[in-house]
């Protein structure tokens, strides 16, 4: 700029125009980049939300299973034992009663005991708690084959089940098998 020749004038205006255009293009690129980043952020947020929901669901399922197990144990160990004590006391008190009355009493107490046992089983099958899903379903299949001679039930396991949700899976299989009880065979893939 020291010389007084006008040669630098086009260069000055070219530089100024270039600076302006570069900034304008940079702003457009900024908008594009921002939108891309925002989309990526949204996807990440959605995936995190889904993961959180999944975790919450697993925690809820786990706590429900724990509570059912506790209730089942209380019914089995508390009410079951009391019923046995009631049976013994009742027969001791009613030893002079007629054979028919004693049978009737025995029948009623057996019915109550069976109902309580069934409640405890439905809340949490003992085999599920003690041995796991595979053994429970295996046992269930054996029972189904035993009580439904016309239908053949087969249990096959692929892979290992997750620890959480085993109770729900067991019920799902049982209910599903219930739906198909009139079919010739029942096949469920879980």
């Amino acid at each position: 700029m020291a010389s007084d020749s006008p040669n630098a004038i086009p260069l000055i205006f070219t530089l100024a125009t270039a600076a302006m255009l570069i900034m304008a293009i940079a702003i457009i690129l900024f908008i594009v980049f921002y939108q891309k980043k925002m989309l990526q952020e949204q996807l990440t947020r959605q995936s995190m939300e889904a993961e959180h929901r999944q975790k919450m669901m697993v925690a809820e399922m786990q706590s429900r299973e724990n509570e059912r197990g506790r209730l089942s144990k209380e019914i089995h160990d508390g009410v079951g034992v009391m019923l046995q004590a009631l049976r013994a006391t009742t027969f001791a008190v009613a030893k002079n009663a007629s054979e028919e009355d004693r049978n009737e009493l025995n029948h009623q107490i057996n019915e109550i005991t069976e109902t309580v046992r069934s409640m405890a089983y439905n809340l949490m099958p003992p085999s599920l708690e003690k041995f796991g899903l595979r053994e429970t379903l295996d046992e269930y299949t054996t029972k189904l084959n035993k009580y439904n001679p016309g239908i053949h039930f087969n249990f096959l396991q692929e892979g290992s089940p997750r620890k959480t949700g085993q109770l729900a899976t067991a019920y799902l299989v049982q209910n599903g098998a219930g739906i198909h009880h009139q079919c010739d065979s029942s096949c469920q893939r879980l």
Partner: protein, 174 residues
């Protein structure tokens, strides 16, 4: 925009050549203060002191050139403020990218205002650096070349208008 209005009013009211430069100086003085305060409001409070320091430095440089150049028409004093405002503008873009304040950046009013500042100050920076040279070479023809500066000023104000349009609440048709 306030500084634009102040500059325009000063130029209209004070007609003599020397006082026109005084008006321009007053315009840039007020513009520097207002724009720095504008960016201070945009950035987190913890950076507040930095803006005051930058503003003080800018005004000191401005005053130094103003009192030592011996000529009211020397334009070098405007260059540091242009560089600083470009830096503020780029830093604000960086902050937007970091914080992601909205889903659609086009709906953020300050984005448009900041873009206006960046385009105007980046475009006119070269002109201000070379303005003394241009005035010397072109003489009376300098004004016609200065249209470039004014066009950038219009672009800046269009960006401001878009920004203000984004501030106004949208009404929905029934």
């Amino acid at each position: 925009m306030t500084s634009d209005v102040i500059g325009m009013m000063s130029a209209f009211w004070i007609k003599s050549n020397t006082f026109s430069y005084a008006a321009a100086n007053f315009y840039f003085f007020s513009a520097n203060i207002l724009i720095t305060l504008f960016y201070k409001a945009l950035f987190p409070r913890k950076f507040g002191k930095i803006f005051y320091v930058v503003l003080a430095l800018l005004l000191m440089i401005f005053a130094y050139y103003f009192f030592t150049s011996g000529s009211l028409t020397t334009n070098d004093r405007y260059v540091p403020s242009h560089i600083v405002i470009c830096i503020f503008s780029l830093l604000f873009f960086y902050q937007i990218i970091k914080e992601m304040p909205t889903t659609h950046i086009q709906r953020l009013p300050v984005f448009w205002i900041n873009s206006g500042f960046l385009i105007y100050y980046a475009g006119t920076l070269i002109l201000w650096i070379a303005s003394d040279y241009l005035a010397k070479i072109l003489g009376d023809g300098f004004g016609s070349y200065w249209i470039f500066h004014n066009v950038l000023g219009i672009v800046k104000n269009v960006f401001f208008a878009i920004g203000l349009w984004q501030v106004t609440p949208r009404t929905r048709s029934l």
